[in-house]
Amino acid sequence: MSMEDAIMNDMTQIDQGVAVDELKMQARNVDVFYGAGGGTRSAEDMAADKAITHAIKHVDVDIADKTVTSFIGPSGCGKSTFLRVLNRMNDTIDGCRMTGDVTLEGENIYDSKVDPVQLRAKVGMVFQKPNPFPKSIFDNVAYGPRIHGLARNKADLAEIVEKSLRRAAIWDEVKDRLDAPGTGLSGGQQQRLCIARAVATSPEVLLMDEPCSALDPIATAQVEELIDDLRSRFSVVIVTHSMQQAARVSQKTAFFHLGELVEFDDTDKIFTNPSDPRTESYITGRIG
């Protein structure tokens, strides 16, 4: 077996998902503009236009499978915007334009053949503010499987709901009142319900936009524990304002500043030995 063959062999092994650090999503040279209107202007052209906000500047990020990646940075640095690039939620914002490539398992998610609706089933999202539907707890979790036809019958659906609620560590609290409105739960429970709802469609990547910013410390601890559990099945990307949280839950950390990706590395390295002076200033509290 020649050297190349050995390498090829290794790569196929990676493709089959043997390696834990398998690459899940890849973003290359991503630029996002707000207020750009429609049209097909080039990134350079829009970047030069003073009327257009250049929210994300040439960002490259690799999201590994079964890993928690956190995005940190001061307010307005573009971390949430970039998160929304990953499941095309920015498409729903008027005047938002994106250039560059984002791939999910090698497939360009911005390809014209890709239906964002299908993409979002694979790349789930949990929002900053808990936003359960004003329906029962059961219907909240069952909504995703229903619209994607994931359950063959009622028993199947009930099983998916239970599994998702268990995975979101809220089953024991709500199992006796699945018919109660989801909006009647406490804030922390609502957020875990939203996580259960996102998990129910069996996404491959779970995006979380400051999931704990509206929660008290106890609920935050519960959600953080949950994120750690979820890592065994999904690739999790979390945006957070709390550097302690990023240090606690994530293996990889990306630091954004003014729309640029300043540094992206292992969490340990970012917090102990950052290579960029701006990262150091931020984590020690001098900027942001």
Partner: protein, 451 residues
């Protein structure tokens, strides 16, 4: 040095209000008094309105009848003697009038009531509608011919007014339509129990009557006409309005064109309703050649008028649905349409319903555009859903009238008894509006209970 007080004002007790506080409190009390006065004026106006309308109109729900036996002699009502309703119909109400008059006179004789009035004067105490009533009874049931029936006969408007306190002996002196002698006789009959004032179902179910017989005029045709028009408005305006609002609010790109449409919809809501009447006249009657005053045309005109109201209400309630709900649905992989129909629309439904019913209530009370499309005509025929004269399109054949138009045309008539009728019609209209609002509230409750 750092704990120097900011201001050097002298120290004051909390118990003594300073001039500024006193002024402020006085202004607050004054404002509260203004507010109470405004509410008071509103309530007073409402009370005056209700008292005047109820005072004038409630009596129209009661009607005076006199009962006496009538012999339906065969030679009068069925001269051919074959009991064929078709041939009997040739005897007009004029043929029944003498029958009624002689029966009335005979009844007075039998009761031993003496009067020096002639048959003609006696018959004038009864409603002009009475012969038609008897004729209707006979034609509906030819077996009655030859029998003596104990009928309740509608009394004339003035006699009715006498028992309701509207007509007095003094006013009868000056009135060419009634004499004090007739009123005295009516009083004698009432003392003997022959006169009865009972609930007037005919006011709600019967068609309109001519200007000389207010006692027989009813709202039946107007209610049916209004009902059909509301049906047309509901069937057309609700889906069109909701679809337009959903498109404008959720799908339409935000550009000049949609801004223009938006401004124009708001303007349309403020266009005087009579303009819609002119539009309806020009488009539906002159251009499309629909039948004048048919319920369909009325409904279409009212639909045009109601659409902006529904669109504005629907858009407001769509906008009130928190964006987080839309995001949650989109984030789960729902399509835009799914997120709207599964989540946004159910949440907006109470608002949409309220807007729709308010629009319908507005349309129900609208008069001006209906006058322009010819609904003011005197209509005695109940409009049919599928009329025989119709060119096969529902609600197109027969002319109709509507409740507010009926109020309008009754107030135009000279007989003072129509004041009572018009007020009664207003009461019916108000009851319908109250019912609609009640339905709106109930529906809203029901929908809101599902969070």
């Amino acid at each position: 040095m750092t704990d120097m007080p900011i201001s050097t004002a002298p120290k004051r007790s909390l118990f003594a209000a300073d001039a500024r506080t006193v002024r402020r409190n006085r202004a607050e009390r004054r404002f509260r008094a203004y507010g109470m006065a405004a509410v008071g004026v509103g309530i007073l106006a409402l009370i005056v309105l209700l008292v005047s309308i109820l005072g004038n109109g409630l009596s129209s729900f009661r009607q005076t009848y006199v009962s006496f036996p009538i012999e339906l002699t065969a030679e009068r009502v069925d001269p051919d003697g074959n009991r064929d309703p078709g041939e009997m119909a040739r005897v007009t109400t004029f043929g029944y009038l003498p029958l009624l008059a002689t029966a009335f006179e005979a009844h007075l004789d039998a009761e031993g009531i003496e009067t020096d009035m002639g048959v003609r004067e006696l018959a004038a105490m009864l409603s002009e509608e009475a012969p038609a009533q008897i004729r209707g009874m006979v034609l509906a049931n030819p077996d009655l011919v030859g029998q003596t029936i104990d009928a309740q006969i509608l009394m004339g408007g003035r006699i009715d007014g006498f028992f309701k306190g509207r007509v007095t002996m003094e006013s009868a002196e000056r009135d060419r339509n009634v004499t004090p002698a007739q009123l005295e006789l009516a009083q004698i009959l009432a003392d003997r129990g022959a006169v009865e004032t009972r609930f007037n179902w005919d006011f709600i179910t019967a068609p309109d009557a001519s200007g000389s017989r207010p006692e027989a005029a009813g709202l039946g045709v107007a209610i049916i006409g209004s009902f059909y028009m509301m049906l047309v408005v509901l069937v057309l305006a609700l889906p069109i309005g909701v679809a337009a609002s959903i498109y404008l609010e959720e799908f339409a790109p935000k550009n000049r064109l949609t801004d223009l449409i938006e401004v124009n919809i708001s303007n349309l809501a403020a266009v005087p309703s009579i303009v819609f009447g002119i539009l309806g006249l020009a488009v539906f009657i002159n251009f499309m050649e629909f039948n004048q005053s048919s319920p369909l045309v009325g409904g279409l005109v009212l639909t045009l008028m109601t659409l902006p109201t529904i669109i504005i209400a629907t858009r407001a309630s769509l906008r009130a649905v928190p964006p987080s709900i839309r995001q949650a649905a989109l984030g789960l992989g729902a399509s835009k349409t799914q997120s709207i129909f599964h989540h946004v629309l159910p949440l907006a439904a109470p608002g949409i319903l309220t807007g729709t019913i308010i629009g319908l209530a507005q349309a129900l009370g609208e008069t001006a555009p209906l006058l322009l499309i010819g609904m003011v005509a005197f209509v005695r025929e109940y409009p049919d859903l599928m009329s025989v004269h119709s060119n096969s399109f529902p609600l197109m054949g027969d002319g109709a009238t509507a409740l507010p138009v009926q109020v309008y045309s009754w107030t135009q008539r000279s007989d003072p008894a129509f004041v009572e009728r018009a007020s009664g019609a207003i009461i019916v209209l108000l009851v319908f509006l109250l019912c609609m609002n009640l339905i709106a509230i109930l529906l809203r409750r029901r929908f809101e209970r599902r969070w």
